[in-house]
Symmetry: C2
Subunit: 444 residues, 2 copies
Amino acid sequence: MLVDTVIYARWIAPVSPHGTLLHNHAVVLNAGAIVAICSRQNAASSYSAQNEVHLDTHLLIPGLINLHTHAAMALMRGLADDKPLMPWLQQHVWPAEQALISPDFVRDSSLLACAEMLKGGITTFNDMYFYPQATADACLQAGMRANLGLVILEFPTRYASHAAEYLEKGLDAYDSWREQALISSSFAPHAPYTVSDATFEQVVTYSAQLNIGIHTHLHETHAEITESEQKYHLRPLARLANLRLLGPQVSFAHAVHLQQQEMDMLAENGCHIAHCPSSNLKLASGVAPVSECLKHRINIGLGTDGAASNNRLDMFTEMRIAALLAKGMSGDAEVLSAHQTLEMATINGARALGLDDRIGSIEVGKRADLTAIRMDALESTPVFDPVSHLVYVSGREHVSHVWVDGALQYQSGVFSGIEPQELQAIITKWQPQVARYTSGNYKG
Amino acid sequence: MLVDTVIYARWIAPVSPHGTLLHNHAVVLNAGAIVAICSRQNAASSYSAQNEVHLDTHLLIPGLINLHTHAAMALMRGLADDKPLMPWLQQHVWPAEQALISPDFVRDSSLLACAEMLKGGITTFNDMYFYPQATADACLQAGMRANLGLVILEFPTRYASHAAEYLEKGLDAYDSWREQALISSSFAPHAPYTVSDATFEQVVTYSAQLNIGIHTHLHETHAEITESEQKYHLRPLARLANLRLLGPQVSFAHAVHLQQQEMDMLAENGCHIAHCPSSNLKLASGVAPVSECLKHRINIGLGTDGAASNNRLDMFTEMRIAALLAKGMSGDAEVLSAHQTLEMATINGARALGLDDRIGSIEVGKRADLTAIRMDALESTPVFDPVSHLVYVSGREHVSHVWVDGALQYQSGVFSGIEPQELQAIITKWQPQVARYTSGNYKG
């Protein structure tokens, strides 16, 4: 049979079935889909491919899914570090955003983020930012998959002036990319502390009518919870429950501070968590109770958050920190094994986005979103368990090939859709403008 | 003036004075030492160099100092992961060691570790393992600096059968490398739970007589403390204090579990801590109280621990995790700034080793141990504060040049003293032998 691509790999971790590792197998791609997974010999005898790729020292995994980010903040990477949350926001991030954001800024910054993510083996990201159509443009240029948030706030920004206008612009954006197979959408009411009851109710109604999921921040800091208790006499999650927002269509970013009954509530309602360990540590928000949430069987994916608070859009770092933190905080070295961590970074993210019928694992019939990681660098040797190495040893610099929807979008430093000069021009254009808002030691 | 090398760098973080960042300066090296730090213009007009190095998009820092490792465990990288400490030791690490360790194994494994560390910008490591002369051989081949532990245990291994023999072999090793400028020594009684009072007393005596420091594990796990309370009716640190071991010549690895009065004791005695955040999390030992220790003004360096429990000998990862954890655990985003973290990874380590008159900062008169990091990779742009980027953004893959004692030992993938074929031969030779003890999915 004639097919587009056959990838021969030393190791394949298909993620489903759980814990599987295939040795010397092949994945066969045609028309963007995975059409077969078989032994090297069977592939060679059954398929004739336009492209044959030989990954003799590599692990092939499903493309990584970044379940919470703000791609367009890439140009604010390291804008101000080692600052408490409020001065960081009030003196640096918000003034920069108020001065700079525009479709141009968002497109350029998102393209830089897409390049970073793709180079690091991420094939899908779940985004929340202003001017999402500009992020969609960047994403399509890069050839990535994204679930873009239709962001909603009560207060005015350069993007929109009040909740109704945010919603309207969001729905326009949604209409603009409905024909794009790689783009899907969530409503993205920013957070309980920035969105009113009335707006959340409207989001719940539209979400049900249009069958669009919801992506919001939740319980990121103690301050947010205290403020809600004062204003609403309820913790944010209880307030959202009263507003009938909870359900399997909802992904909560952060969820650092959760009581037992709140974990029960998330589990019963099938809500998803986007765990962002680096960002939560860096902003001193705390450590999410991952091992407890796992006991409650809550679906947890992994997110980088934006480059202003991480400052890497790097799922390898998040996998490693997530696994290590879960062990260190629980006192149990068996919590969050390497295989489970890989699931968080792939199929769990797909489930949260309602895309698990299409992506998140290497299975026949799914779209071909795939990432290959070299295991032969001296710092990766010897190899006894490649999945353990993926989480504890490998870095994003070991990513060699990335396919999205069957197309090879990145290989060894080269992108199919992005030229290095374009990224250089973006930095040259924007760095001096963003620098006005930095606390860093920037000099022209 | 004719000199060996002038390095022109876009940015230099000399570490001393605290918090300094130099723009477009040069570091002048001659006969292994730093002889001048001056503006680019002054360097060009005052010095004629055999080697001129232009680092136009780089940050130059003092070589990183890994304050706690077991280099010769590199061949056990990922031997068994996601295991509780005792099964990990009893079923995997100890049987592998009992079967495999020899001068050959230790030399080969240490060479792999040296290559990994050098490539990652580490110029000095503080080691503790059997057959330290074999590690010295590897270290000298690689051209690195090391402080090698003269390991002492009560129980027999292939290396020695009882404390007196360990001590004797250690002193022989010490004599063997006394003429080597790059090698220094510590006594390394393994830990309070593996070394008797009598042996510790002997170590204290020899340490004073020979002016050699002491390197030991301390309060890594709760179990170790409970066991000591049962056996000695004392916590390990109190026991060591009674044995008059405390002082500025002592570095304690881990120190995860410390009471307030124990921090007072460490501070008053000028003891040093080798903080190993990745290893402590991975083995579920816990999180060391770094922000509290900093308040006590205890000198804290950073260590990777061995590759069996980390599994990266990567100080970039340790810097980032240390800074993030200190913020997340203390709830204060200002704790452990990027500059402070860089100090931990350089001058603090030098101080712990008693080598701060020679290394740990870029100052005139010090030995030229230097590491250059590229800041122009797309994932590192834009740059507002290169020291913040060093800690929160850069990875070891961005290290471009490493000098030890004035000699360029690593540049862009190439070592001066190590050939890739030699490392490949080491993996080919040992991987199948180590694999017998793995829990991983290894197949020939």
